[in-house]
Amino acid sequence: MTPIGANALAQWPIVAAQAIIFGTAAFEVALAPRDPGARSPLLRELAPFWIGLAAVLIAAAPVALLTQVSAMAAAPWRTAIAFVPEVLRETHGGRLWIVRLIAIAAVAAVAFRCADHDRAPAALAAFAAVLILAGALSSHAYDWGLFMVAMNFLHQAAASMWAGALLALCYGEYFGDRDPAAHWIHEVAQRVSTAAGWSVGALFATGAILTVRALGFDSSRLLYSAYGRALIFKIAAFAAAVAVGGYNRYRLMPNVRERASRRTLVRLVAVECVFILGVFGLAAMLANTPPVH
């Protein structure tokens, strides 16, 4: 496997887990319905999910770090282990890895206390935001200036919000025990739809800015470069997710109180989530592909 493919594959679980943690926690803090003065029922349901995602981060981080050091040193894993302390101490990417590892430890510590602490989701969202920012600061955008780092961060945050809102809906519907379920999903689906709409708008705007910065206005660069072709696949997966989301919003949501529509909606939201996970994988691939030179 090429270093680009290996790096992308190693980073995919981290990109997806940090995005989902940020999105679901932010959704729980800002958008989840709750009775005044009462705790959100979603909090207790999401707690084991966050512990699972923290475990993914803990398991994937050493693999991703070692894969990255191996690519930097152009050496196999066994040789690359010796470079790890030097990379962490002396390189920009290594110092960001130290920040990442601390943030992952904080995410894990908070995830285990989520079920009993009302403020834990806000802390979880903040630590996941640190992970996303560390990713933006070690991306191509870092060489393009702080404005592009901010665009990259907003791009990732918007994608995370979209995925998080959808997964919170699916998770709450599958694992929640509510009476009546139709009322809950009607209320949540409205909020998810609004969050998804804003997220897609932000993704489109920031994605356009990052694309123009990476490829310029030359369409041949989109077609005849590795970066351009990876971007085409990412845009196709994004378009598929938006199409499914549009169908959910305009066809199924008006009838969400009906049992059949509700089931179809939740199934299609799960399909939308799969496309978004594909987008995260292609984003990891894109982050490791050299832009047109």
Partner: protein
């Protein structure tokens, strides 16, 4: 009114792209080499210098100058000019073809490498 607001937002975003400082592209690539790729020199160079379009990591910077027998003649490479210049001193080179091979890691942790040749035609002074 909302339509006008949207147009203004898009225009502001486009302006931001245009006005954003044109910094170096991600992944470091050579911007200028001295001696230049393919150059034929009358007198031997005292050092090889490559200027990159993005800052590079000192830890993984490599630069070799190989003669026709494959022997590396360059000294330990030095990174300077805010991390964008890689250079190595050379002994007095004899007339002949030389291959410069470099490999660097950019601040975004991505590795790039390449090589080129130059020729020394004049005799050493």
């Amino acid at each position: 009114m909302l339509y006008r607001k949207n147009i203004l937002t898009i225009a502001a975003l486009c302006a931001a792209i245009m006005l954003a400082p044109r910094m170096a592209s991600a992944h470091a690539f050579p911007k200028r080499e001295n001696p230049a790729a393919g150059a034929t020199l009358n007198s031997p160079p005292s050092q090889v210098t490559i200027d990159f379009d993005a800052p590079i990591e000192k830890l993984f910077a490599k630069l070799t100058v190989l003669d026709s027998s494959g022997r590396n003649l360059a000294s330990e490479p030095v990174v300077g000019d805010a991390g964008k210049r890689l250079s190595a001193a050379l002994p007095l080179l004899k007339p002949g073809d030389y291959k410069v091979a470099w490999s660097v890691v950019c601040r975004d942790s991505h590795r790039t490498e390449g090589s080129y040749q130059f020729t020394v035609s004049g005799s050493p002074h």
